[in-house]
Every structure is written in structure tokens, then in C-alpha cells.
């Protein structure tokens, strides 16, 4: 046998499905979308404010409890962004987007985390670091992550 030949093996259309329990803090966070509210967890010791909220401060290791949850205004500052011309198809292939998507890195007022959210109602030329943005909700919110449509420039 001179040459070791190789064949390709194709699979069956099997998908592994997951449903990740989100925990109490995240549950509050997501459910409060129903009332068009964004909540964050403020460390009782160092004051670092996490959005989405969580149960332990990564900066000073203090336990954060539900009483440490604070409500944010839904306004924030754009600290970074990119325009995505491609998108993963879920199976590993980058597909071209007919309408490029603008992804913003946003620091919400009174919080310290950066969240990565879609930007809308914005001309690509006007996207700049430092501009103020605010959340745009679905008209009818149900208390799920999809309630947030995107962020748009705030006047």
C-alpha cells in the first residue's frame, strides 16, 4: 500500500439542543424587560456595576445579592463598534449580509460593563465612539431577550 487515501464522512442531520437555566439574577434581568427596564447588579463593596447582573463581583469578590440590583436608564455611551458585512450561518460558514449590521459596544450610564448590542436608526457615517445611545424596545414586550430591538442615537 503506497498511499493512504482519505475519504470524507458526512453526518446525519442531528442537532444537539440546549436550554440553559439562567439563574435568579438573570431571570430578574430578563423578566424586567417586560416593563421596559434594564437592571444591573452593583457591588455593595467596590461599586462596580454589572450589566447583565450577576451574583459575585469579579473585581473584589464580594457576593452580590438581589437587594443590590439597581435600575438603569437605558441610555449609554458608544465605546466601540463594527459594521459586520458577514454573519455566521450557525454551521460555521460566513454568509454575506445584504444589509450590513452595526454592532455597538455600549457602556450604559451608571454601569461599568460593556454590552454588545445591535445599533439601528443610524447612518453608518454618523457612528462614532462617544456618541450617546438609548435602548429601543419592541412595542409589546414579553420579558424576553428579544424585547430589546436595538440601540439608537439619543439626542
Amino acid at each position: 500500500m503506497e498511499k493512504r487515501e482519505v475519504i470524507k464522512v458526512t453526518g446525519l442531520p442531528i442537532v444537539a439542543g440546549f436550554r440553559w437555566s439562567v439563574g435568579k439574577m438573570m431571570e430578574k434581568f430578563i423578566k424586567s424587560f417586560a416593563d421596559k427596564k434594564i437592571i444591573a447588579a452593583k457591588c455593595p463593596k467596590c461599586g462596580y456595576t454589572y450589566v447583565p447582573p450577576r451574583s459575585r463581583c469579579g473585581k473584589c469578590y464580594t457576593k452580590i445579592e438581589e437587594k443590590n440590583l439597581v435600575e438603569l436608564s437605558g441610555k449609554g455611551t458608544l465605546t466601540g463598534y463594527t459594521t459586520a458585512y458577514v454573519e455566521l450561518d450557525g454551521k460555521g460558514i460566513f454568509l454575506d449580509l445584504d444589509n450590513p449590521k452595526v454592532i455597538g459596544a455600549i457602556k450604559l450610564d451608571d454601569s461599568d460593563s460593556t454590552i454588545f448590542m445591535p445599533l439601528g436608526e443610524i447612518d453608518q457615517k454618523n457612528v462614532k465612539e462617544g456618541i450617546k445611545v438609548k435602548v429601543v424596545w419592541k412595542e409589546e414586550t414579553k420579558g424576553e431577550i428579544a424585547d430589546i430591538l436595538y440601540f439608537k442615537p439619543a439626542r
Binding site: R4, E5, G11, V15, A16, R19, W20, V22, G90
Partner: protein, 169 residues
């Protein structure tokens, strides 16, 4: 009985969902099974033999990790051997779903049939091959039993040419 068992459980919070398309990987393999299947077409069981230790691997393997070398030579082993291990399935029932299929409805197994997946070591090989023990009452299945291959009537050169094994009369 069930109520005596304590299983720990918490209350539920909501969940988010996601997927992993495990069927979308494009794996690569040697043509070792092609060699094996060539043999099956002629009712022969092909293995690879290590030039270092003389071990015979069935189906053919390409690397002997013991001697750390390629195995280039092939050999034919007997289609008779011994059962090294077996298990008994529960009786197959109409309406049961296996990987989304109803095997009774599809005629793959008979209603009430007990499948006996087994491991067979063919004479002259150092491997066991996983197959099905046929033509035997499940009560009589035993490790150490002598068996022979039940060949398909017209072998086509595919893995299913070995339908299973049966006791040597």
C-alpha cells in the same frame, strides 16, 4: 418503591436556548473500511497485521500504537470465532422510537424480538468485532460460545454483508 428514593431538585428559573449542529462536521477517515468491504464481497474477513508484534486488527487499522509503526500488510482471518461479550435488549415493541424510527414498523426487527448485540473475536485475530448474535434463544447466549458468521445471501461489499453470527452446530 420509587417514593423511597430521594432525588435532589431545585425550583426552575427561565432558560435560554441554543444549538450545536453535531451532524455538520465533515470528518475524515482512512479507506480502511473500503479494504474490509472488498473482502466481505468474497465472504472474507480482512485484518491488518503488524510487522512488529504480529497482532491482527479487524477491521484493518493503520497504526500499531504498541510498535509505533504503520501496518502495511493485510491478512484474512476465519469467519468463525468466540463470543467475548453480549447483552440482551428488551423485547422490541411496535411503536417504540429509536433515532426517530419505528424499527418494528420498518421491518428491521420482529415484534417481540430480543436483540443480542455481541462482541466476537474471530479466530486468527486479536480484535473483537461488534455484531448481532442470531438464531439462538437469548437464554442460551453465553460468553465463550463458538460462532460463525451469517453472511448475506449476496454480499455486496458493505458492512451489512455480515448479518450477524450464529452458534456453530
Amino acid at each position: 418503591m420509587e417514593e423511597k428514593q430521594i432525588k435532589y431538585k431545585t425550583e426552575e428559573t427561565i432558560a435560554t436556548e441554543g444549538e450545536w449542529p453535531v451532524g455538520d462536521y465533515k470528518y475524515k477517515a482512512w479507506k480502511h473500511h473500503e479494504e474490509f468491504k472488498e473482502g466481505l464481497k468474497e465472504k472474507k474477513i480482512v485484518g491488518s497485521i503488524c510487522s512488529g508484534c504480529g497482532r491482527v486488527y479487524v477491521p484493518p487499522a493503520y497504526i500499531c500504537g504498541r510498535c509505533f509503526r504503520w501496518m502495511e500488510e493485510r491478512t484474512i482471518v476465519s469467519d468463525r470465532g468466540i463470543i467475548t461479550s453480549f447483552v440482551l435488549s428488551n423485547p422490541m415493541k411496535k411503536g417504540m422510537k429509536i433515532l426517530g424510527m419505528d424499527p418494528v414498523d420498518m421491518g428491521i426487527v420482529a415484534d417481540g424480538e430480543v436483540l443480542i448485540p455481541c462482541m466476537v473475536k474471530f479466530d486468527g485475530s486479536d480484535s473483537f468485532v461488534q455484531t448481532i448474535l442470531l438464531n439462538v434463544d437469548p437464554k442460551d447466549a453465553k460468553v465463550g460460545m463458538r460462532v460463525q458468521v451469517v453472511w448475506a445471501k449476496e454480499p455486496k461489499g458493505q458492512l451489512s454483508d455480515i448479518e450477524g453470527v450464529e452458534p456453530i452446530k
